[in-house]
Symmetry: C2
Subunit: 268 residues, 2 copies
DNA sequence: AAACGTCATTCCACAATATGAGACAAGAAA
DNA sequence: TTTCTTGTCTCATATTGTGGAATGACGTTT
């Protein structure tokens, strides 16, 4: 049989047997528990003999586990313990930056990354818009939770108890005319954010500045940071909120996956 | 060059390229952060070209990550997310059983596995001694923490605060003549257990029954269960405690590793 | 019991595929 | 500049992975 050119796009001089083995690992992970050889072979499309050879090699190195009673295969310890090294080495900012850059390019607006620190959101990275008029917030800047898109997104996913404890500290201080200071209005904002997957900031923090924000999660579905897109009122009319919101949301989800996290909504 | 017979023992018709790739993953995990190609090649003993080819294949599948700025390699997201499937599928009892069996064979005594449930230890698995006279505790049996080897081992690694809360509930009730009811004596027992890595039960729960216990940990260094070996006073004289203790301890550590956990002491 | 079906496992001839020395490229240091 | 060092790519070679088919182990049906 001639060389199989990968049906996808990219197969630059790679090690086929290794690629196959990695595919098998993925099948084991998605299979949930114990899979029989035949199932795995069928699912991968490899002949049983090849499947078996690869699996037993993986097993020998403890990357796969074989249960002799049920004759089923599953993911091995070593995959787990080695995978944990990823957590140790990963770097949210490094991971997020290329995605932030892409988001800035497609929207033209400034993109920010912020983490929660006590009762404030702290900006940790920023990709600036190329526009003359643009939003800026130097990394390290602290912004109250109640009047920033990222802050509101973070509050929205917390329990009522945590929320009120946090808001009690700062007291929902008025910063602009449009800052939300009424608790019932704020509650509605949280509900909207939960429904849409993104929170908005409509000149609540700076006059003329609008912002859309979504969250990035870790492997326990806990939020680790917020991603926001902000620009002048003139370029973000009401009817663009939804479009931008979806963009921010899907970018945040992609960063989450790249970071090894899980969004609370999707189970993948 | 002729076929290289693996310098170790076991090379039964396996996929070499896969084995090599898995070794590389392990090096990435142990390397801590970013390793250069040369370092990895040197550490693995593979020529740079082979190393590079395998790494880029791993990277293409997201099992390895390549940082273009520093030209360094590290463990990729996919290894992590797939490794997490292990946590979902793993089964402590299944994992522990073969080790427990081996421990029973070498010592001849009954081996138990128990988890903490509130203020008691609950036996969840047992391998019975072949001796006529033997210790038995049906799975499901609850034993107070203060008068069992496993319970004392569990208490020993907890904070003073948690300990006193738990002991307050049961009140260190006297069960046999030798049950420890004095708090200062108990504190000394905890100190000994921490020093030795195993706790002992010297007829504190049943007359004539001695027991040595050690802990099994999860990946966060939190104890998930206790492993104990128990037998009649006649077969476990004072001078055998240390020998048996070390055995139980090392068995527990092996189970911990097999379970994907980390002992608080060792960083491996 | 014997015949059949299913599935895991192993074998083996074949050639496709992984291999690694060496060429090349890209920086960094002298 | 030259001279290291280190990463990346090429290519001839035969080692190595491949998958069809045989074997073996069970369980079910006739």
């Amino acid at each position: 049989m001639p060389t199989k050119i990968d049906s996808n796009g990219s197969n630059k001089g790679q090690v086929q047997s290794l690629v196959k083995a990695l595919q098998l690992l993925e099948i084991l992970a998605n299979g949930g528990g114990g899979l029989s050889l035949k199932t795995i072979a069928a699912q991968s499309g490899f002949p049983p003999s090849t499947t078996h050879r690869l699996l037993s090699t993986l097993q020998q190195e403890k990357f796969a586990r074989f249960d002799a009673d049920s004759l089923t295969w599953s993911v091995g310890v070593k995959t787990f313990s080695i995978g944990n090294a990823f957590v140790r080495d990963r770097d949210l900012i490094q991971t997020a930056r290329p995605f932030m850059k892409a988001l800035m390019e497609t929207t033209g607006e400034t993109v920010n990354l912020a983490v929660q620190s006590g009762d404030a959101a702290v900006y940790v990275a920023q990709i600036e818009s190329r526009q003359m008029m643009r939003a800026m917030a130097a990394p390290g800047t602290r912004v109250p939770l109640h009047c920033s898109g990222i802050g509101k997104a973070m509050l929205a996913v917390q329990s009522e108890q945590e929320r009120s404890a946090l808001l009690a500290k700062t007291g929902m201080r008025r910063v602009t005319d449009k800052t939300i200071t009424d608790m019932s209005v704020m509650r509605q904002a949280f509900a909207d954010a939960l429904r849409d997957g993104y929170a908005i900031d409509d000149e609540e923090h700076a006059v003329g500045l609008r912002c859309v924000a979504s969250l990035i999660y870790d492997e326990n579905c806990d939020p680790v940071a917020g991603l926001s897109l902000s620009g002048p009122l003139a370029r973000i009319p009401d009817n663009k909120f939804q479009e931008l919101g979806k963009l921010v949301c899907s970018t945040a989800e992609r960063i989450t996956r790249e970071f090894g996290g899980n969004s609370p909504s999707s189970q993948n």
